[in-house]
Each structure stands twice: as structure tokens, then as C-alpha cells.
């Protein structure tokens, strides 16, 4: 009775059609029979090794002769010569060795027998017996208390290992909460990045793009590099100017623009690349990483690409001195999605 698949025995189908004729006879190489050819090969190999030696010397010469002085042309030359020297010394050493094996070392094929990989049955039995003897002597089979408590202790051991990593980063307060706000608050001026000059509405033309930052970025002390970087990573914004009437104003966002000047988060909602590829005529913002395309005239809705959520919009106003400023923080967490995100969507500018 067969419970497993049956095979149609290969023997029943017939054996191999042709017998093994054995190793083909060895045909001698030119260098085997012709001593002149062998000598020539030897010289050839010697030349190769000689060039290799020259390569090393060339490297040293170039290293000493070309100190770096800030001139990029000199650096290029140094790179080429050092690389050529070292490369030649390595490559020709290798080529020479291989040529030596190919031309001059014997090329008669040798045969070795493989050994069976399975241990002989006596060994296997002895191994099993040894294992059983040891297990019996340990008594673990007869002492369930030891076994179970050992397992319990071992199972808990990874915990300290894991907890050692607990202070790798601050997880209190809740990271999701920390991620949900930026440093934008009511009255924070919008400034041009790099130059940090504030912006008046009259400075902007229709079709303009400004890569902008919150003014409060400059107040972060220089030593607090982490805070500065994080601010750049989340609080960067884009300011564009459209013709009033050329864009949709979703309910609740009336008054978020200033005369057609709109402000959006610069951080893509897919996986967080900064975007700012602005197509002036289509009002589309394209992310160069994975081609998510946001229609800024339609409240940042995604019109192509792997991003799902629209780009968060920052509500703008004009402050007392006539500069563009935020009405408050974004009403939702900026950047890529995460598990708890939906809980941090606010209805009013924070």
C-alpha cells in the first residue's frame, strides 16, 4: 500500500542511452611541446610581473610628486596616477599568475573521489548513543521542574537585552504626539529660506514660488543642532501665488490665503522627501522621489503617484507690519503617515 506519490522508476523508462567514454585524451598545449614557446611564455610572465613592480614604484613617485594644494586639476591627475600605479601593480600581478597557470603549469586533469556526506551508520548510532547517554546523565528528562524553570528563565532573558535599548530615543512623551505639531504658531512670520528675509504680499508675483521657513527657526540656538534639523525636516513650507479665482477653497479654509498667496507643507505625505518641484502653469507640485503629484489649486489633492493624502496647508494672514505670518500651526500632522496619525487631526489652527 503506497501512501505517498508513486514514481515511475527511471529504470523502467530505460537507462542511459550512451556509456561514459571516460576522460577525453589530453591534448598538449604549444608550451608543452615547444620549448621556445614555453620560454616565450616565461618571458611574457616575467614582463607582466615587471610592469606590476613598476606600478608600485609609480604609485610612490606620484604620491610624493603630487601633494594636494586645493587645485582640482591636480587632484584629478593625482587620482589617475595613483590609481594607474596601484591598479597596474595589482592587475598585472594577477594576470601574470594566471598566465603562469594556464601556459606553464600542467593542465592534465586529475580525478579525486567524493566521500559520502552521510556518516556511516555505526557513527550515527554512536552519536545517538552518546547524545542519549548525555541526556540521561543530565537527568533533564526525569526532572521536569528543572526543565520548566530553565525554559522560563531562558524565555525571560531577552527582556533585559531589549530593555537596554529603551533609552535609544525619547519615547515619553508619546512620539506620535511629538510628531503631530510643528513650531509654527500664531503670528510666526514666513521667511525666505537661506536669507531669512520676511515676505510682504506685494513682493510676490503670480506664479512665484518661495521655499520658506518659520522665523522662529533662527531663534533656535546653534548648539541645538538636532532641534534645528528637525525644524527643517517638518516646518519647511512652500509659498506660492495664484490668481484669485484660480484655485478652490475647501469649506473651513476660507481666509487661509492672502490674496491668492497660499502656503503648503514642503514635506511629502508619502515617505517624507521635501518636494517643491512647482509647475507654475499647472499649479502642480511634484515630488522628485516617487513622483507623487499634488494639485495646489485643489487644496493639495494627490493627482498622481503613490501618496494618498493631500499636502497639509498652513493658514496665512498679514501681520501688523504687513508681513506674511501664520494664523497658527497646521491642523494636521505633516509628513508621512503613521499609525496614530488620524487621532491628531485638529479642526482649528493650533
Amino acid at each position: 500500500m503506497t501512501t505517498h506519490s508513486s514514481e515511475i522508476e527511471p529504470a523502467a523508462q530505460g537507462g542511459d542511452p550512451l556509456p561514459d567514454p571516460g576522460l577525453p585524451p589530453h591534448t598538449p598545449r604549444l608550451t608543452d611541446t615547444d620549448t621556445k614557446a614555453a620560454k616565450r611564455a616565461e618571458r611574457q610572465i616575467g614582463v607582466m610581473f615587471g610592469i606590476a613592480a613598476l606600478g608600485s614604484i609609480g604609485f610612490v613617485a606620484a604620491y610624493l610628486a603630487l601633494p594636494l594644494d586645493g587645485d582640482l586639476g591636480r587632484l584629478q591627475l593625482s587620482n589617475i596616477l595613483l590609481g594607474l600605479g596601484l591598479g597596474a601593480s595589482l592587475l598585472l600581478l594577477g594576470l601574470g599568475a594566471v598566465q603562469w597557470a594556464k601556459k606553464l603549469m600542467p593542465d592534465v586533469e586529475m580525478v579525486q573521489q567524493r566521500h559520502p556526506l552521510e556518516s556511516p551508520p555505526e557513527d550515527r548510532q554512536a552519536a545517538v548513543a552518546a547524545f542519549e547517554a548525555g541526556a540521561e546523565e543530565s537527568g533533564i528528562g526525569r526532572r521536569p521542574l528543572i526543565r520548566n524553570s530553565l525554559l522560563g528563565a531562558a524565555a525571560l532573558l531577552p527582556l533585559p537585552v531589549l530593555f537596554f535599548l529603551g533609552d535609544m530615543g525619547p519615547i515619553n512623551p508619546n512620539p506620535a504626539l511629538v510628531r503631530s505639531t510643528t513650531i509654527w504658531t500664531r503670528g510666526t512670520r514666513v521667511v525666505n529660506d537661506v536669507t531669512f528675509t520676511p515676505i510682504r504680499p506685494e513682493d510676490l508675483q503670480v506664479g512665484q514660488l518661495v521655499n520658506a521657513m518659520p522665523e522662529s527657526y533662527e531663534e533656535i540656538p546653534e548648539e541645538d543642532a538636532a532641534e534645528r534639523l528637525t525644524t527643517r525636516a517638518y516646518s519647511s513650507v512652500l509659498v506660492i501665488r495664484l490668481e484669485p479665482g484660480e484655485f478652490e477653497v475647501p469649506p473651513g479654509r476660507e481666509g487661509w490665503d492672502v490674496d491668492g498667496i497660499l502656503c503648503y507643507s514642503k514635506i511629502c505625505t508619502h515617505v517624507g522627501c521635501p518636494i517643491s518641484l512647482y509647475e507654475q502653469q499647472t499649479h502642480n507640485m511634484l515630488c522628485p522621489c516617487h513622483q507623487s503629484t499634488f494639485a495646489l489649486s485643489q487644496a493639495g489633492k494627490v493627482v498622481f503617484g503613490p501618496a494618498k493624502r493631500p499636502l497639509p496647508q498652513l493658514p496665512l494672514e498679514v501681520d501688523a507690519e504687513g508681513y506674511l505670518a501664520a494664523q497658527g500651526d497646521f491642523t494636521e500632522p505633516v509628513g508621512p503617515s503613521y499609525w496614530e496619525r488620524a487621532k491628531y487631526i485638529r479642526t482649528e489652527p493650533a
Binding site: A226, V271, P274, K308
Partner: protein
């Protein structure tokens, strides 16, 4: 005793007294390895790894894995006065202030690209020749792990200079970590030491890159080589080669020279590449700033397939009960790699199940003799290639002047249509090649000499192939065809394994569908006779005199 032996004998004796090395040398110094160019691909990987270790050590003498902000005052003018991390500044110093520094950086990076490339071709060589079958499944799994480790080493490595290009990649990683359900935000804060980007990530990546990952790779490579050494290398089937022997050349001196020489060839090529072709010019990218990005931002080539997947996965993000599940990021970013690794590791077992072949194999398969496996391999290559092209879709768009949106759409469909197509086409081609082989065995080789009978009928003369070639063309194992066991046994009791055997039989049938089996001795005899008969038939009808060729001999006398 020769002079060499005399010189070596004293120190060797000292070692031998302590370590019994002569016994080892006795059996291993003349160990036979088979010879074929495709067996050297794994060596390219091994040697480029050694180059990585050496060049990497040099770089650690100068690189500062610190995100502390400094103002650059070095010799590269366009960045003078620009604030940047110490990591970036030290990379600039290595490139511009240290003789050979730029060369070494380039050697390191070219070698890294080559490491992963050569592992990939080596893996495909092993796959297409069936060298992963018993007893080498363990080594195959180690190899899969090594490939993943190579990707990890590369990614952690190119992120170290903290430049705009690799920093954007780090941002994407943060986005991927965030997409992990429940623990994503916590993991992100733990790994980055706080809110992105923090001040810790570069030094953490550094220790992963110079200690943890290379340590793992070294351990795995050592195991890989030890197992290979012990099990002996596989060889191509052919005259004189059996499952019980190895035919080739001895380790010392032949392979010492060939393989040792190849190490120098590989390192020499890498150094020459680094002398003439610029790679990773971080000074052009500028220091990393999370609010900046460059057009044409791409990861290194071996991560391209994952980035491509990120580009073409549609916007599958759902909010369920107040919780966000971003499958558009999780699938390519988090699941693709484990799935890929799992498929790789599982394949030997899958094939074992389909073919029912559990025997030891030391003779390789010619790819054409396992058309389905070859088809699967090509399908995987096409799938991977399409993803890789997707990763560079903005370049494809620019070079071929096709809107990038069209390329994305094409890939979204093509990814599921083209690989199965490739599978079918490849399988057909392999079977056709098998047929051609059998024709050669049964009818001999085409001579290109056309003869005409007196009736005006044309035929081509065939000449017999030599016995060595004939054997080589028929040395492959005969595929096992499996039939399902009966559902009920003689007593009418249901077979508990019936469903499994039915599945196996179906898979087996799919696997060996249309494969051309080699003929049995009787079949071959009949074929040859038939061919002879055809020719004799023609001869009876008198070939026209044309050069005095003798009638073709039979390949096997009857």
C-alpha cells in the same frame, strides 16, 4: 628535497608539532577543483569583499561619524563657509586633503557596487545550474542571507557621508519605519534618537556598517566557504565526470595561481575603475539638509528595485477606526525584502517537492535541461529588472522622452504581464534547445553539405559527433514523473496523504511539461537506424557525384 621544501621545512615542522598540520596539508594541498569560468563568479564577490575590508579600514582612519555641526574651511571652494556635519566635512577632507583619499573612497564604493552585482550573478549561476540542490541547501540559504547583508552594508555605508543624496534616502527609511503598524513611531524615535533626523543616526549607522554587518558577513562567508570546501565543488556533467568524483586541477599550484591571481585581477580592475571613473562625488550633492532635495535622487543600484516599487505601488492607504495603515509604503518598504528572502530560501524545498528528487547532486544541470526552473529564473530577472527600471523612471523619461507618468502606468501593468510572458518564452526556448541537442545526438551534426538524389530530392548530410560530445549531451538525469497515489487503498481506507500527493503530482506535471527526455538505449538505437535508413534510402537512389564524400556512418554501431 627541493630548495623550496628545505626552506619551508623548519617552520612547518614547528607548526606541525603543535597543530598536526601535515595531515591537513596531505589531503588538502592537492585538493581537486573543477574548472569553469562560471565557478569564478562567487570569487568576484569574495575578493570585492576583501577589497571592501581593506579600503574601509583606511577610511575609518579619517572618517568622523559625527553629526556635530561644523563650518567647512577646507580646500573645496564652493562649500567654504557652509555649515555641515562633521561626517560630511571629514568625507570632503578625505577626498580633497588626503593623498589617495579620493582614490580609496572610490575603490570602496566601486567595490561595494561590484560586491552586490557579483553576488547576484553568482546566485543566478547557482540557481540556473541547480547547484542549490542537496547537499547545498544550507549554503544556498547562507548565500541568500549574504545578499541581504550586502544590501544592508551598502545602504548603511553610503549614508555615512551625510550628503544630500543619501540623506534623502534616510528620510525615505524614516517614512518606511513610520508605516509599521502600532510601533512605527516608537521605532522611529528609538532608531533616530528622537524626532527625525536627530543627532545619532550617523554614528549608529557607522557601528552597523563597520562592525555588525561586516562581522556577520565574515562569519557567513566563512561558513559558506567551509561548507563548499567540505562538500567539494559541483561540476558540469560530461565524459569522465560522475556524481562520485571531482575532475579538475589541484589547489596547489594551479588554483593558488588561478584563484589567487584572480584576486589581484579583481582588485586591479576595481582600482583602475576608481582611477578613471568618478563615483559618488559628494561635494556636488552638498551636505544633507532635510528641506532640500535634488532632481534625479536615486539610491545605489541594488536598492533601485525597492525604490521602484515605492514609485509604482498605488496609493493604498486606509484609515480604520482612527488608525492609519499605509500599505503603499509598508509593502515595498517593509514586506518586499522579507518576502524575497523567504522565496529564495524556500525555493530548494519547493523544487524538491515538485520534482520528487531528493538525491544528492554534484553534477550540475544545463539550464536547458530544466526548462521550468530556467523559466522561473528568467521571470525573476524580468520582474526585478522592471522594478529596477521603475526606480530610474525619471531618467528613462528624460532619455527616451516619454512622460514619466506613462512609464509608471506601463510598469504597474507590465510588472504582472511581462514576467509570466518571459517564463513562457524562456521555457519554450529551453525546450527547443533540448530538441536541438537530441537531434544532434540522434542524427549527428549538420555538415552544410547538400546532396541531391537522381530524383531531384535534396537532403543535408549529417556527420557523426564524437562520443565525448554525445555523452555530454545525454548525461543529464532523467526527470522523475510522479503520479498521485490512489485515493483509497485496497481495503477501501482513505489515504490521509492523498491531497498532498495529488498536489505534488500536479506540480510535477507542470514542472516537467513538454520537457524533452533523453532517449533510452533502445530509442536511440531506433532513431539512429531510422536516420541511417533515410540516408541509405537516398544513397540507393544514387547521390550525384560531387566530391567523393563517404556515406555517413552511424553514430553507434548496431
Amino acid at each position: 628535497m627541493s630548495a623550496t621544501v628545505k626552506v619551508a621545512s623548519k617552520p612547518l615542522a614547528a607548526l606541525d608539532e603543535r597543530l598536526t598540520i601535515s595531515t591537513w596539508f596531505k589531503s588538502n594541498l592537492r585538493k581537486v577543483f573543477p574548472d569553469h569560468w562560471s565557478f569564478l563568479l562567487g570569487e568576484i564577490a569574495l575578493y570585492s569583499f576583501i577589497v571592501l575590508l581593506l579600503s574601509g579600514t583606511f577610511l575609518t582612519l579619517f572618517f568622523k561619524p559625527s553629526m556635530v555641526e561644523v563650518v567647512y574651511q577646507g580646500s573645496y571652494v564652493p562649500l567654504r563657509g557652509v555649515p555641515m556635519s562633521e561626517a560630511y566635512a571629514s568625507t570632503l577632507d578625505i577626498s580633497f586633503e588626503i593623498r589617495g583619499g579620493l582614490l580609496m573612497r572610490q575603490i570602496h564604493h566601486w567595490s561595494a557596487l561590484l560586491f552586490v552585482a557579483s553576488m547576484t550573478v553568482h546566485m543566478f549561476r547557482v540557481f540556473f545550474t541547480g547547484a542549490f540542490r542537496r547537499p547545498r541547501e544550507i549554503n544556498w540559504s547562507i548565500g541568500a542571507l549574504l545578499l541581504l547583508m550586502g544590501l544592508a552594508a551598502g545602504f548603511t555605508g553610503y549614508s555615512l557621508p551625510d550628503d544630500l543624496l543619501s540623506g534623502t534616502g534616510l528620510r525615505i527609511i524614516e517614512g518606511i519605519i513610520l508605516s509599521i503598524p502600532v510601533v512605527g513611531t516608537y521605532l522611529s524615535f528609538l532608531i533616530f534618537g528622537g524626532n527625525y533626523p536627530g543627532e545619532d543616526i550617523i554614528s549608529r549607522l557607522y557601528i552597523a556598517h563597520v562592525l555588525l554587518v561586516p562581522g556577520l558577513i565574515l562569519a557567513l562567508v566563512s561558513a559558506h566557504l567551509i561548507i563548499l570546501w567540505y562538500q567539494k565543488h559541483t561540476q558540469w556533467p560530461g565524459p569522465g565526470r560522475t556524481e562520485q568524483n571531482v575532475v579538475g586541477y589541484p589547489l596547489f599550484p594551479i588554483y593558488t595561481a588561478k584563484a589567487g591571481g584572480f584576486f589581484f585581477v579583481v582588485s586591479g580592475v576595481v582600482v583602475l575603475l576608481s582611477a578613471f571613473i568618478q563615483i559618488n562625488p559628494v561635494w556636488f550633492w552638498g551636505p544633507y539638509d532635510p528641506s532640500q532635495v535634488s532632481a534625479g535622487t536615486q539610491p545605489d543600484w541594488y536598492i533601485g528595485w525597492l525604490d521602484g516599487m515605492l514609485r509604482i505601488t498605488p496609493a493604498l492607504e486606509f484609515v480604520i477606526g482612527g488608525y492609519t495603515l499605509s500599505l503603499n509604503v509598508l509593502i515595498p518598504g517593509g514586506l518586499a525584502m522579507p518576502i524575497f528572502a523567504g522565496l529564495l530560501v524556500a525555493y530548494p524545498a519547493i523544487e524538491r517537492f515538485a520534482t520528487g528528487d531528493d538525491r544528492e547532486h554534484h553534477l550540475l544541470d544545463r539550464p536547458r535541461n530544466n526548462p521550468t526552473r530556467t523559466g522561473i529564473g528568467v521571470m525573476a530577472i524580468v520582474f526585478y529588472g522592471l522594478l529596477w527600471l521603475s526606480g530610474g523612471n525619471d531618467f528613462v523619461a528624460t532619455i527616451f522622452q516619454i512622460p514619466v507618468n506613462y512609464i509608471t502606468r506601463f510598469m504597474q501593468v507590465g510588472l504582472f504581464v511581462l514576467p509570466p510572458l518571459a517564463f513562457v518564452v524562456t521555457r519554450r526556448i529551453a525546450i527547443a534547445l533540448q530538441r536541438r541537442d537530441m537531434e544532434r545526438v540522434e542524427h549527428g551534426r549538420e555538415t552544410g553539405v547538400i546532396r541531391m538524389t537522381t530524383e531531384g530530392e535534396f537532403y543535408e548530410e549529417h556527420a557523426p559527433i564524437d562520443q565525448y560530445e554525445a555523452y555530454e549531451l545525454t548525461a543529464q538525469p532523467r526527470p522523475k514523473r510522479i503520479e498521485a497515489a490512489p485515493e483509497l487503498d485496497e481495503s477501501g481506507i482513505k489515504n490521509p496523504h492523498y491531497k498532498k500527493t495529488k498536489r505534488q503530482a500536479r506540480l510535477n506535471r507542470f514542472y516537467w511539461e513538454n520537457t524533452v527526455d533523453k532517449p533510452t538505449p533502445d530509442e536511440l538505437h531506433d532513431e539512429v537506424e531510422h536516420a541511417e535508413h533515410d540516408t541509405l534510402d537516398h544513397l540507393e537512389h544514387e547521390a550525384l557525384p560531387s566530391g567523393g564524400h563517404n556515406p555517413p556512418e552511424s553514430t553507434r554501431h548496431t
